[in-house]
Symmetry: C2
Subunit: 356 residues, 2 copies
């Protein structure tokens, strides 16, 4: 069944009729398995796009519209990632044209959700740190340069919450407009047309080798090599205080030490898609790797939230109490980054033992 290939956490498992079926289990996986997976993902993409239009994707997101956008990103990532891993088996020009366009699309669609998730994460952390709800009561006070309660750390959390809400809501609104523009653009329609063709006709390369295993193994090797280059011994030692090092350094960009972890997150995803192509259903390796993947998602989210708190602290004319709260919040999220690395190390170790 085609929906066996879909992400198991995907809530949209309704199977459109007439999809090609997966190859029989057993035997080496062939290019037909790849074609089958790509057709299923393309169909899912078109279904999500139709749903997104029907559920009012043009307005601010209803739950269905948010789900549809997520399903759209998911299938776009899978088509693009699978085409990348199995590139030698596919028509070269087709891959070179479609992959960057799908990456552009999923990146554009992801930004609105990322802003919202970042805001929720930061407000939750402020709530934990202050012992009170920090939803802003006077969201314009800060902007007006209000200086009441200066030096009073109590109000700092509330003011920091208001400031973050204002900044991240603005960013989300902008991302929403950008996503809407993208979905109405000629560029998007060209992508959608290509995906519509893919749903019935996968452009396999002429004379391509038929066994998928070596290419999937190469994707796995790229992942294990990148993991081997991570500072896992340090990460596995609790409270190593690495993540906050240089937390007050002048560089306004996200921490450079995070980049190799973000890279592993992407390689883990590519490995997972390749496993989906090969195994059809969730393999036990997939299940074992999901904890590692979740840790890296948390790593990415905390890294971005820490950067957002530091960025908010650079707002001109904020009160010292607000800046103090943002400093505590930044360090708290860097602490989360470190915790996520520890969790990844633990999950990866288990996965390695389980696989050995």
């Amino acid at each position: 069944m085609a929906q066996q290939h879909l992400d198991p956490t995907d809530s949209t498992a309704g199977s459109p009729p007439g999809l090609p079926t997966a190859p029989e289990p057993g035997g080496a996986p062939t290019a037909e398995a790849l074609a089958c997976y790509l057709r299923a993902q393309a169909t899912e993409f078109l279904r999500a796009l139709r749903l997104h239009r029907e559920t009012g994707g043009a307005g601010h997101g209803t739950e269905e519209s948010v789900d549809a956008a997520r399903a759209l990103r998911r299938s776009a990532r899978r088509i693009s990632g699978t085409a990348h891993t199995f590139r030698p088996l596919l028509d070269e020009t087709w891959s070179a044209e479609l992959c960057p366009e799908l990456a552009w699309l999923s990146g554009t669609l992801a930004r609105e959700h990322a802003c919202q998730a970042c805001l929720e994460r930061l407000l939750l952390a402020l709530h934990r740190l202050s012992g009170t709800a920090v939803l802003p009561a006077q969201p314009t006070e800060e902007a007006a340069g209000g200086r009441t309660d200066r030096g009073n750390l109590t109000v700092g959390a509330a003011k920091a919450g208001a400031l973050l809400e204002r900044q991240l809501t603005l960013a989300r609104t902008r991302a929403h407009s950008t996503a809407l523009q993208a979905l109405g653009s000629a560029r998007f329609h060209a992508v959608a047309d290509k995906v519509a063709v893919l749903a019935s006709d996968v452009p396999l390369a002429p004379g391509a080798a038929m066994d998928l295993t070596p290419l999937a193994a190469a994707a796995r090797e790229r992942l294990t090599d990148a993991v081997a280059a991570l500072p896992l011994v340090t990460a596995g030692s609790p409270y190593n205080a690495e993540a906050l090092i240089h937390g007050l350094s002048p560089d306004p960009a996200p921490h450079p030490q995070d980049a190799p972890w973000h890279q592993v997150r992407l390689l883990l995803r590519l490995h997972r898609y390749a496993s989906e192509v090969l195994d059809g259903t969730d393999s036990s390796a997939h299940v074992r790797l999901s904890a590692a993947g979740q840790a890296l998602d948390r790593h990415r989210d905390a890294s971005e939230a820490a950067a957002a708190a530091a960025s908010a602290a650079r707002t001109p004319r904020i009160a010292p109490a607000t800046a103090y709260a943002l400093g505590v919040l930044h360090a708290d999220q860097r602490h989360e980054v470190e915790a996520a690395r520890f969790a990844f190390q633990q999950a990866w170790q288990k996965q390695a033992v389980g696989a050995g």
Copy 2:
């Protein structure tokens, strides 16, 4: 030999002649072992006092003078703590009079050192966080309300360092004056006279039970009961994020969640002194417990440093960048508090297994 009873980390192990010798090893420890320990500690107290006066305790501390003050605090704590644990074996009036006076003395003498250690810990942390030395270049700029570089987080670490240096140096200077006044006071001379008598004549209670073991066991039980009441399951789970909870709450006092840990630190110390009385030399239990004790020292130091950073952030008219750096620093030290609890849990678990 009497100096067997002294703390092994004590650098001042010269043995004054004419001290009573410890009882033979083997057999139940008797009140004579207690008397021997107290005489040795009293002698050490008088030696440290003489050294402190000779090495210019009146001026700002030379290394010898600092060592002498430390030895003075150590012996004062041991006399007071031992008298507390074995109170039924000692003259009641004598204990009731001397113990609070020794606690006053060691507390007064400790404050100067604590201010210095707190400052060093915070400057070291700022250095780690900013990647640069944070010794203040312009220590008066902040006080004058200098607002250059507002919003520039880079200078925040340097300004925070300057602010902390100013505040904690002032506190240390005050503590130094208070300690000098104390050492010249009639109150202190009364304590020193009592300790001088103790060096030759320990006021054992008439008809006191001769076996020390039950009282030492009771001290150990008070420790294990207090440890059992600690949230050790949480502490043993890395990155539980407990220590920073309510880090932005309005209470300006040190975190109430720290108090039970501070209490265990004191009970562990009393247990260690009782072990010293009973075993003469370092027992293996003492060695096993030292890691636990070091973790609790670190817990106390980080807790106080976090409070100092939060307190500095309440200084009026500081720049937002300074407040931000102090917020990061506060959270970093609360992170250290959590790390110390984890280290204690690990050490205690090992100790429990080793003793079992």
